[in-house]
Subunit: 464 residues, 3 copies
Amino acid sequence: LLWHRENTNIKWSLPAVCFVWQLSMIILFGVFVRYNEESDTHWVDYRKEKNITSDIENDYYFRYPSFQDVHVMIFVGFGFLMTFLKRYSFGAVGFNFLVAAFGIQWALLMQGWFHSLDYTDGKIKIGIENLINADFCVAGCLIAYGAVLGKVSPVQLLVMTLFGVTLFAVEEYIILNVLHAKDAGGSMVIHTFGAYYGLSISWVLYRPNLDRSKHLNGSVYQSDMFAMIGTLFLWMFWPSFNSAIADHGDGQHRAAINTYLALASTVLTTVAMSSLFEKTGKLDMVHIQNSTLAGGVAVGTAAEFMLSPYGSLIVGFFCGIISTLGYIYFSPFLEEKLKIQDTCGIHNLHAMPGVIGGIVGAISAAAATNTVYGDLGLENTFDFTGPFAKRVPTIQGGYQAAGLCVALCFGIGGGIFVGLVLKLPIWGDPADENCFDDEIYWEVRQVFFFLLTFYRFFSIKAIT
Amino acid sequence: LLWHRENTNIKWSLPAVCFVWQLSMIILFGVFVRYNEESDTHWVDYRKEKNITSDIENDYYFRYPSFQDVHVMIFVGFGFLMTFLKRYSFGAVGFNFLVAAFGIQWALLMQGWFHSLDYTDGKIKIGIENLINADFCVAGCLIAYGAVLGKVSPVQLLVMTLFGVTLFAVEEYIILNVLHAKDAGGSMVIHTFGAYYGLSISWVLYRPNLDRSKHLNGSVYQSDMFAMIGTLFLWMFWPSFNSAIADHGDGQHRAAINTYLALASTVLTTVAMSSLFEKTGKLDMVHIQNSTLAGGVAVGTAAEFMLSPYGSLIVGFFCGIISTLGYIYFSPFLEEKLKIQDTCGIHNLHAMPGVIGGIVGAISAAAATNTVYGDLGLENTFDFTGPFAKRVPTIQGGYQAAGLCVALCFGIGGGIFVGLVLKLPIWGDPADENCFDDEIYWEVRQVFFFLLTFYRFFSIKAIT
Amino acid sequence: LLWHRENTNIKWSLPAVCFVWQLSMIILFGVFVRYNEESDTHWVDYRKEKNITSDIENDYYFRYPSFQDVHVMIFVGFGFLMTFLKRYSFGAVGFNFLVAAFGIQWALLMQGWFHSLDYTDGKIKIGIENLINADFCVAGCLIAYGAVLGKVSPVQLLVMTLFGVTLFAVEEYIILNVLHAKDAGGSMVIHTFGAYYGLSISWVLYRPNLDRSKHLNGSVYQSDMFAMIGTLFLWMFWPSFNSAIADHGDGQHRAAINTYLALASTVLTTVAMSSLFEKTGKLDMVHIQNSTLAGGVAVGTAAEFMLSPYGSLIVGFFCGIISTLGYIYFSPFLEEKLKIQDTCGIHNLHAMPGVIGGIVGAISAAAATNTVYGDLGLENTFDFTGPFAKRVPTIQGGYQAAGLCVALCFGIGGGIFVGLVLKLPIWGDPADENCFDDEIYWEVRQVFFFLLTFYRFFSIKAIT
């Protein structure tokens, strides 16, 4: 039996895409992007004009530590979390690197046009907050990568990111600016959108014969350890993620506390569920690597609200349970019944907790009162100023819920469209029997691999 | 020969403990824990009232970067440092994760009752400093875990942590508040207490036949590399650890400098000793992974004092020597004569350097003068205010020494008590021949492990 | 055939060097080093005197987050980047640790004498900026280590570092103080100097029979993954590196933005070139691990200038191309024609991008105008004050170029001198057939290594 081998040669397409897109970035940045007043040498004049007493009040010092933590989450966190597959670690961490490096540039432009355009000169003015938002935007695309890990070519990933960032910028503008919903940690804007975007793409790209490479669709001891590096850096720095663009002062402070607590709670219920569903109570690394993070996703929207410490613990408690149950029951169901192959289980880590996070945000916004927040505090937290000066918490709750729907629609709709684009037979994606295999796109030095080769040899024979 | 197999089924006990304790946390947080004035939406009013000119003076901005570094030390530092065993890496990093996630919640409550209780409404008010202190508290329990690594069940670890955090909060209150001793980096409060707590537990749980699993009680090349990730993140972020809760301004600044220098010095003497005691001067990874950190432990108490840069170097110099000698001579002695099996050698890394740190702190406090510190500086550094306004440095030195004794007593006494509790035959701990083996508590994918299995097969045959 | 075995016994030389040098550090620190006014307990008086309104204006809070990121780059970044060799990971991360721990102490003294000497009492006064500069200084020596990785003994590395730090401090003084060139991210001072220093040493130490250990001069799958940890932490934290000692406020802010963008651009062109030059467009991990960082090197000097966001992208664009071409064409040429064996390819990652960075810095300085910078901004950015009050941008450009030449001269001249010192047959360096092998200087536990031993056994037989 000789299977049809797809053409995975990307010798021209990958360099072409990289060069052309990077050149376009240079041209667009040349036309549009400049430093904002806090990163420009004119800051010294601006400081005097605005009567700012010290350089330390530059936004840079409010946000730089959080920015660096978010940056680590994007490149090491997401990158290493996906290295769990036994021989797709290069693809996990390497393509994550490529996609994110492109995505942040495109995001600076797309988000800049919507949020940071200076109408006096038509330029996008960037500062530290733009860098954080670009990282956030890319996070959505990296979540989507989790669903198709091992089954697509790097060119497809770049296309996914180009469209993903574009869709993200639009839905973000609608949710945050038009609907004036709040979403500091991005439960809706990042996680719900990103997860359904990825799942929809994976649904369109369904591979009925994926089990031909099932011998590679699993972990080994060392690859599970590398994945734990990703898990822990995501887990530890999540308080920075949810607080990075929150309000100065109490806003950032509270977002960090809420996230810290929600994540702690999630770990215990994840361990409990994992143990409960295995024979003799053993733990499964898949759950520890993923479900322990669900609380951070779900507390994203409400992180800067007065959710209360115990409120955060409750959110984490349920998300650990739901996410672990997702891995045990829902992932097989998705694959068999709905034909969605979700390599990393992003439905359990991002989709469900993201939706929960949107709902928690809507409810806690609707329930906000002047007694709890204080008059000024309520206005500050929800930005009930300018055109939104007359909005009240219950109405805000409704707009939060509307925001969640927008994220879902953009994720599902955009994902189906992009999935169809990626179905074109020009992208160099691997054949079913070559999925999850670094050898297709990477020079792999062998030595230790002869073991795996033996293993593969026998598995393939068994199938044939 | 058929050995007795212990019942390591934790299918009911582990989920039960996790769920019940997490629910208790939620209830207790609901009753007791609220945001403090810097993380509450009323901050805007508080700022005006206290005449604080900028949001940047929120304690969050003084401590958040250090907090995140400490957080990394707890979860990646301690977690990966313990992955050196060839097949207990899941247990090292996974149970470290579980224990710390529970411990920080319980610590927020225990430390909150002692230190952050608002008597006007009976609530614990938390902010960033509480999160750091909770991480510190858990560090004591994770040090103790090092002594029993591979020999206990996760349920036992949770019990150890429950009691450990409780004991920690009490001894900390006595040392810092009653005795008014200073201990910014926790040489006494964290390291001395944690190490003797763990060693005492290990003494009570002594296993005479532990050599039945000695084939697993060692490292392989890759596991040593993972452990170096832990070592380096602990080493690099230790300046943040010792400065995290030091006084704003010069206090944090000085604590970071002292720790940076002490650790640098330790590396050189550790390498020297390691090389001196091996044939042909080869280095031993065990020493590099552990003893290089001893200087950070020993400079903990005095980190915010005017120890002088050269004083820090001297402390690091001797700790590198003593700690490495501990691994070479003292650990075998502890195991053979005192019946204390100390998997990670915490006696060399935490116990001895911790005691040295307490002594250095007492001496340098007693030697403090107005000339060196300045009048205001002396008052600020040692908090000679309120009821302690009349205390002088020599007296302070005595109280520092008393603090060290309290830490020792709580560590040893508490450890013996908790050890006896853990000796009950209900906790699902592994049999002697199953120690240091991830397969007991984790689903382990095999592939590479057939090598280890062969090895184990032949070792066991040899013993039988 | 019996090869001559070099004497690699370092049982006396390594401990002796470590002890004697560390003792010297203690004595010199005792005589010379004290806390500066911001880390001394007299800060409280100083604050009043200088009318500083809040502790947050202590330089510590401006620079500590960047300092910790730089610290991670030095110890985890450089250390893990060099672990790519299949069995020299202990040497990579361990000797990096040793060398850096010694180097930062010696750098505090050397740089202190040149930059932080208080002439009123003859003491070096240190604070957070000195710690960052010491880390920077060591970075130069660690770059040099990359050229000789696997071919020298730890004693040789310490000697290299002793001389390297000394040379660094002198060239830095000439470039920054005498020529008054700007070099925030050290393209010239750190990268150009460090790379040519290492390459020159490697040239003097040329080993014609190095192919006797070529079976070990390559990577395996796991070692490539460990190296990616180093790559990513360098890549992510490079914005902190280039901004760490930039001017407060807009200076640090702009340096971070420029570096972030240059690095993103580099990733895309590196991937493009790597794919373009491999059969079927596969990617090579060597390029991804190294060339993706070239943009950070090349934007170092100009990072705090008004380079513009698109200017940074352009720099990164060309550096990704040049650096990858370097690995493909230039490294073999260097080895075969110029007799320079460059284990890590530092010529491609540091030397060429460093020189480019110096040139970019000179051009962008010469092109600075009052229109773009503002009058005050120009003065602030280039420190046109005091004795340099009359300097204009075009002249500054010339001095920048002169600075680049100084860095080159010190690197090449110093490297040749130190190379000759290291050629003395007293340092315990390995024989040609033992290069790149951890077993020479480390206790290595075997188990997994029997595979490698087989491999080596057959390779050596084949050569014989």
